[in-house]
Symmetry: C2
Subunit: 227 residues, 2 copies
């Protein structure tokens, strides 16, 4: 399991670092468009995102001939091209498995819908939850998962079940035709090569912060070694 | 903002990729220890995590002389050394700002406590929430944030406020002495160089999955170009 990114490398067309920058360009361009701007220069993008203008021009050159010397990038075609490259120029129905605290927070998260991600089927193992409604969606039993996801043609699933249920549910999701899993279970999942898993492991993110804090509190290694 | 990892590079002692592998070694070693094992070989670690044995030996060699030829790594000292390197060999009190759906799910998340991360102060701007209790913690007003965090000596904060409140709250957190922010606001934060920000942007993770799915559905670029 690799946290917060591909479990398997190089499955998509773009390398991970470029993909990450594409997401940043898209957020920045959408923000400027929303503020009524119509163009942006590679210098402005570079400054906003902490990159070099040369890096910005190289990355965006790969998307298509979007920039013009002296004018910069027109924001509307830039946003459209980035969304197309990232695959978010369409609506993506999603399934959720595990309607606990985290699952409920995810269903209610408004950001998903704004980006075109929409929960269409939600499942839980607990018979006391089955039949209840959240945000207009009826909670269904996991026994119906494969059939329902196949019938709806859903390709993306969010996994928010307890760790011990993670692998069996993931295997069902694969059988149902799911090709991308957002995994909140802090469990490594065994899936076929054509299925991408992005694992969101909050403990891993916190370890990055604590490593930063304890590193800062220590003198640099070279000084200690020569002391 | 870089999603799911350091906002600024190279602040801690370890490069990001090594840090990520340390977290994976730690999870794997803790799991084996919990199952009653006492040693693990570099081959076993490599197989479990999809790495090469040489990479494992190089990474763990940097932590200390933990392995012995023919015996492998003893799990107990390995776990202790990895926790020390990551800074998780102690208890970390945390603050939460923003007690909405996501904030509540985070406070109730059991994994944090098991790893030594413990919410000690939680804040919200909404006067209707102030005074209520979640998991035994009293929700306090954000006006008390700087004073309370300073008095408690808290260094890590989880930010789960609406985007428009993100920067002002982050500035207050910095004034209060916070050195690490887990940022759920999908907003780039301006903070001093000695403060680390790890941003968890769920839209970014989903874009990785959609890019994977649309890339798979297309023929490789070379074939299309020569067609």
């Amino acid at each position: 399991m690799v946290s917060g990114r591909y479990q398997r490398g190089g499955m998509g067309r773009l390398p991970h670092a470029v993909l990450e920058r594409f997401s940043l360009y898209l957020r920045e361009a959408e923000g400027r468009l929303a503020r009524g701007e119509s163009t942006v220069s590679s210098q402005e993008l570079a400054r906003a995102l902490g990159l070099t203008p040369a890096q910005v021009r190289k990355d965006l050159g790969a998307v298509g001939p979007l920039g013009a010397r002296g004018v910069g990038y027109r924001l509307q075609p830039l946003v459209a091209a980035l969304r197309h490259a990232l695959g978010t120029d369409r609506r993506w129905p999603m399934a959720l498995v595990g309607v606990g605290q985290l699952g409920r927070a995810l269903v209610r998260h408004r950001g998903f819908r704004e980006q075109g991600f929409c929960f269409e089927a939600i499942f839980d193992r607990d018979p006391r939850l089955v039949g209840r409604r959240i945000e207009g969606l009826r909670i269904e039993g996991v026994d119906r998962l494969v059939e329902r996801i196949r019938a709806a043609g859903i390709r993306i699933a969010v996994l928010a079940v307890p760790p011990e249920q993670a692998q069996p549910v993931a295997s069902d999701l694969v059988r149902a035709g799911i090709k991308g899993i957002l995994n909140f279970t802090a469990t490594a999942l065994a899936v076929p090569d054509d299925v991408a898993v992005v694992s969101v492991d909050l403990g891993f993110f916190l370890e990055q912060l604590t490593h930063h804090i304890v590193s800062m509190a220590q003198p640099p290694r070279r000084e200690r070694d020569s002391a």
